[in-house]
């Protein structure tokens, strides 16, 4: 649904060069992050999977991976692992190229022709079954579960009916809704995996917050009227719509099943968004009640306001007013309207975070760097 040329850091030490190329060449997406060396095997594998996922992403025409030279996750290795997708992928190493300024100049020379070639491509029609949506909520309020999330659930039901894929995640926000989540699982296998993830997430929240664990809802959530994690979770899970969970995947792992899929990500938005996008989600539906401006360098993020006040107060950040659901519009009507917007976005209409260039990217990790 997009055709970006990406410049990607393989390690945080390359961020200066990647940003430099981004400034030098208009029309490229510079994607940086803070991962690098000093990580255990699990996190190296997770970061590698995420970065390879960026290179393979259907919204990416071609890419340049930039490494330093002495790092664990090599730019050449990333390109090699994504090579079978047949798109223009190049790499360079800063130490080999002769430092920052030479690398910026060399890199700019590599991506300029890619930008020109990408711009020359015509948009092609595709079936909805090729579409993969991701769902996210951030900065929820007590209306999120009444308006924006069920509205997203309607769009999810529609795409699943078309044979497409929809990823939801943020396991933290399933805590307290276990019974409802279990009832949504398609098979005993999926249920077992889902419940194991939930138990694990509960333990991690408890380990980090101790006796305050039940207050895992952010201060803004409570001010907005959410009183408990189960209240927040019930509202969050309304995004699932009425179809069953077909598969549970790891962070940044591409789903093989069609239909509704759950990914193991934290509730923290940017980490969570990045995992689903790296798995190949082409558009992300993001509900917010308090007003999150978060977007992505790789995919259009559709910002769905849970209340009309927010839609009117942050017009540069919000794409859709789901608050109308409490002013007489039915969820079916609003769901159909949101679906039409998603189709327009798939056909090229820019979303608000694309217009404000709010392009956030962060890779999850399971432990501290050493």
């Amino acid at each position: 649904v997009r055709n970006h040329v990406v410049v990607l850091s393989s390690v945080s030490c390359a961020n200066g060069v990647v940003d430099g190329i981004g400034r030098e060449v208009s029309g490229v997406k510079a994607v940086t992050h803070i991962e690098g060396c000093g990580r255990g095997f699990t996190d190296v594998a997770l970061a590698t999977r995420t970065l390879v996922g960026v290179l393979r992403h259907p919204n990416v025409y071609g890419a340049l991976a930039v490494g330093l030279g002495c790092e664990v996750i090599k730019a050449a290795g990333l390109v090699q692992q994504a090579a079978d997708c047949g798109k223009p992928l190049e790499f360079l190493e800063i130490q080999e190229t002769g430092g920052t300024l030479r690398s910026i100049a060399t890199g700019a020379g590599i991506v300029r022709p890619m930008v020109a070639a990408a711009a020359g491509q015509a948009r092609e029609a595709a079936d909805f079954e090729e579409l993969m949506l991701a769902m996210e909520c951030g900065g929820s309020d007590s209306l999120s579960g009444l308006t924006a999330n069920p509205c997203i659930g309607k769009v999810s039901d529609w795409l699943v009916g078309q044979g497409g894929r929809v990823i939801m995640s943020e396991i933290t926000e399933f805590i307290g809704a276990e019974a409802k989540v279990a009832a949504h699982c398609d098979s005993p296998d999926v249920r077992e995996r889902m419940m194991a993830l939930l138990a694990d997430q509960r333990r991690r929240v408890k380990d980090s917050l101790g006796p305050l664990a039940h207050l895992v809802i952010a201060p803004g959530n409570a001010e907005g009227g959410l009183s408990s994690i189960e209240e927040k979770s019930m509202g969050s899970f309304a995004k699932a719509g009425s179809t069953m969970i077909r598969q549970v995947v790891e962070y940044a792992e591409r789903p093989t099943a069609r239909g509704l899929v759950v990914m193991n990500t934290p509730g923290s938005d940017v980490f969570s968004m990045t995992g689903k996008i790296a798995a190949g989600a082409q558009i992300l539906l993001f509900s917010t009640g308090r007003g999150s401006p978060a977007g992505s360098p790789l995919v259009p993020v559709v910002k769905i306001a849970s209340n009309t006040r927010l839609f009117e107060r942050m017009p540069d950040d919000m794409d859709f007013d789901a608050g109308r659901a409490v002013a007489g519009c039915s969820l079916d009507e609003l769901g159909a309207e949101l679906r039409d917007l998603v189709v327009e976005v798939a056909n090229g209409r820019p979303t608000k975070p694309e217009l404000t260039r709010t392009e956030l990217f962060a890779i999850n990790s399971t432990s501290e760097p050493f």
């Binding site: 579960g145 009227g225 408990s228």
Partner: protein, 89 residues
């Protein structure tokens, strides 16, 4: 006739979610009148009790328990973290 200013999501629910800030003494109205009279100010987006709820009884929203009452709650009272205890994580 009062204007609708709240939502009850599920018929089993014992709380309503108010859409605007409600003053003490004002009537909270959802789909079906007459509604309930607010015993205290209810901030926008917060919950108000529709029935008397005894300590340890479940607070129901979405037709599901979202916690239990930590003290007696009267009809029209604000329901939030001060009188609702969520489950332990």
């Amino acid at each position: 006739v009062s204007v609708r200013n709240a939502v009850v999501i599920h018929p089993d629910d014992n709380v309503a979610t108010v859409l605007v800030a409600i003053d003490k003494g004002a009537t909270v109205v959802w789909d079906t009148p007459p509604g309930v009279v607010a015993q205290e100010p209810i901030p926008a987006g917060h919950k108000v009790a529709l029935t008397t709820i005894a300590p340890a009884q479940p607070i129901l929203k979405y037709g599901q328990p979202i916690g239990v009452a930590s003290q007696p709650i009267a009809v029209g009272q604000h329901v939030h973290t001060h009188n609702l205890t969520g489950q332990e994580v």
